[in-house]
């Protein structure tokens, strides 16, 4: 036991924890972006609301979700511990500004991570907390004719306050009643400064990942002449461009939809 403790208390052990939690969070944002693409589907929120309901009611995903919250906390906590120990390693600062070539993002991971942590708190407070623990999110009733695939939407007011969702079938009509997170998203993103917070956070995410993704591989010791360029390519174009851009488009598109109405 002390052997394992010693491993994870060493400088490299702490970095291993940073790398593994970081990569886990990287895989999460792929899923998160993929699922949220439902927001771009023009179906009055049907796909998105059913997806949100699935995420909050499918037990294995619940388990992974709590692992995810743990990973965020551990990643931030170890970042703090490492930063404090790094500060202690240079008690007297240089008088001159360092001119050693190093990328801006690699030198500002702490700042970028702090912005992201603050954003995660705001973001989860907006949607996750309100969806799961308050009754500020309304309900929608989707009636789909399974033969013609025609769908009608109506607001729905449950009689029982503990009601969460239902799927029933009457003749050829499938009736789905779910929490209307889509409407919550639309109202939240109609506020310009909220959109700005999201865009700033996604810029931070981009810079955090352009260094973070390939840095995790370096820390794990997975560098190779053949594969490291591939890792750097994925880290730059997929994690630092496509993913933050995809996320940032959601509030921006919803904002412009709200002012065009």
């Amino acid at each position: 036991m002390s052997e394992i403790k010693q491993t994870f208390n060493s400088s490299l052990g702490k970095k291993l924890i940073m790398a593994l939690t970081g990569l886990f969070l990287c895989t999460f944002i792929i899923v998160h972006l993929g699922g949220n693409l439902f927001l771009f589907k023009d179906d009055q929120g049907y796909g998105f609301n059913v997806y949100a309901n699935f995420l909050t009611h499918f037990p294995p995903i619940e388990v992974i979700a709590y692992l995810l919250y743990l990973a965020i906390i551990v990643h931030a906590f170890y970042a703090l511990i490492l930063t404090l120990s790094n500060k202690k390693s240079r008690p007297v600062a240089y008088a001159s500004q360092s001119k050693s070539p190093a990328s801006w993002s690699s030198k500002n991971m702490g700042l970028l991570g702090s912005i992201l942590l603050l954003f995660i708190v705001i973001h989860m407070g907006d949607f996750w907390y309100k969806y799961k623990f308050t009754d500020t999110v309304g309900f929608k009733e989707y009636r789909t004719n399974v033969l013609t695939n025609q769908r009608t939407v109506a607001d729905f007011k449950p009689v029982d306050p503990t009601f969460e969702h239902s799927v029933t079938t009457v003749n050829d009509e499938e009736i789905v009643r779910v929490k209307d997170l889509h409407a919550k998203v639309a109202t939240t993103f109609s506020c310009w400064w909220y959109v700005l917070i999201y865009v700033i956070a996604m810029v931070s995410l981009s810079f955090h990942l352009v260094h973070g993704f390939q840095s995790a591989f370096q820390t794990l010791g997975w560098t190779h002449r053949k594969y490291t360029p591939v890792v750097k390519f994925i880290g730059t174009w997929f994690f630092a461009v496509i993913i933050p851009l995809g996320f940032a488009l959601m509030p921006v598109v919803y904002f412009f939809q709200s002012i065009s109405k």
Binding site: E3, T7, S10, S11, L12, G13, K14, K15, L16, L82, S85, N86, K88, S89, R90, P91, V92, A93, Y94, A95, S96, Q97, S98, K99, S100, P101, A102, S103, S106, K107, M109, H211, Q214, S215, Q218, T219, L220, G221, W222, T223
Partner: protein
């Protein structure tokens, strides 16, 4: 050339220091940086002042003794050289040059610009060696080693232990140095018997000395006078995790000595 120097002056390890300005006059552009300091020191001695204390030895870039954090960069503005190989033609007439010692908790200042780098020696002593049998001298090339491996090990072995990596790192991390010392032996057949204990002992000693943690910024690689690459750190990490998590051999007790 006439220059203004801003130099860190500190009486000894227990005193606090400060930056002091000096004029360096009639400096030849062909002088090395250390020769320029020699000239300044001569004038200080003539005036009856205490000369500026700085480390130097071979003055041909192979001993690793000279240091100096010059205008925000270890060993000055040029790539892949030590301070003794830096010439005054790299500066312009009238320039103000800031000269500071390496800054790290593990490298305490002895006096002025000289720091105590024996932390590096202790890391080396913790595991930077190979066991050699006594007896007859073996044939020189009796163990076949692929050329690429030999070259790579030699590249790591060019580390002169100057500490520029620690000085350049924003975290004062010594991982480039330690990883070069781990790699130069870990890649060769002769280094295999101690491979897994070596990496654990040297990393443990590095942590004990109070160096910071690597954040993969690459500043060390860019400032290394011998161009040691970040690949070494990756290799060290791989060996360390392999030793700690997957090897079943008895783990080294970090006492330092081999059996």
């Amino acid at each position: 050339m006439n220059l203004t120097l801003k130099v860190w002056r500190q009486k000894d390890a227990n005193s606090s220091g400060k930056m002091v300005s000096y004029k360096a006059e009639n400096i030849s552009p062909d002088m090395s940086f250390l020769e320029m300091l020699d000239v300044v020191n001569e004038s200080l001695i003539h005036k009856g002042d205490e000369p500026i204390h700085f480390d130097h030895d071979c003055r041909e870039g192979i001993c690793g003794m000279c240091s100096l954090y010059i205008n925000g960069r270890p060993h000055g503005p040029k790539r892949a050289i030590t301070t003794c190989q830096l010439h005054m033609r790299s500066f312009h007439d009238g320039e103000t040059i800031t000269i500071e010692p390496w800054r790290a908790a593990a490298f305490p200042v002895i006096k002025d610009l000289a720091v105590d780098r024996s932390a590096f020696d202790r890391i080396q002593q913790a595991g930077g060696y190979v066991s050699v049998n006594t007896g007859g001298v073996p044939d020189a090339n009796i163990i076949p080693i692929p050329k690429v491996i030999a070259d790579e090990a030699f590249n790591s072995a060019t580390c002169i232990g100057c500490g520029a990596c620690v000085a350049a790192c924003k975290n004062a991390s010594a991982m480039l140095f330690v990883s070069a010392k781990v790699s130069q032996l870990g890649m060769l057949p002769q280094g295999q018997p101690e491979r897994w204990s070596r990496v654990q002992s040297m990393v443990a000693q590095m942590d004990e000395e109070g160096f910071g943690n690597c954040t993969n910024t690459g500043a060390c690689e860019a400032e290394c006078p011998k161009e040691i690459t970040l690949t070494n750190i990756s290799r060290m990490n791989n060996d360390f995790f392999s030793a700690k998590l997957f090897r079943e051999e008895k783990v080294h007790d970090h006492s330092g000595g081999g059996e």
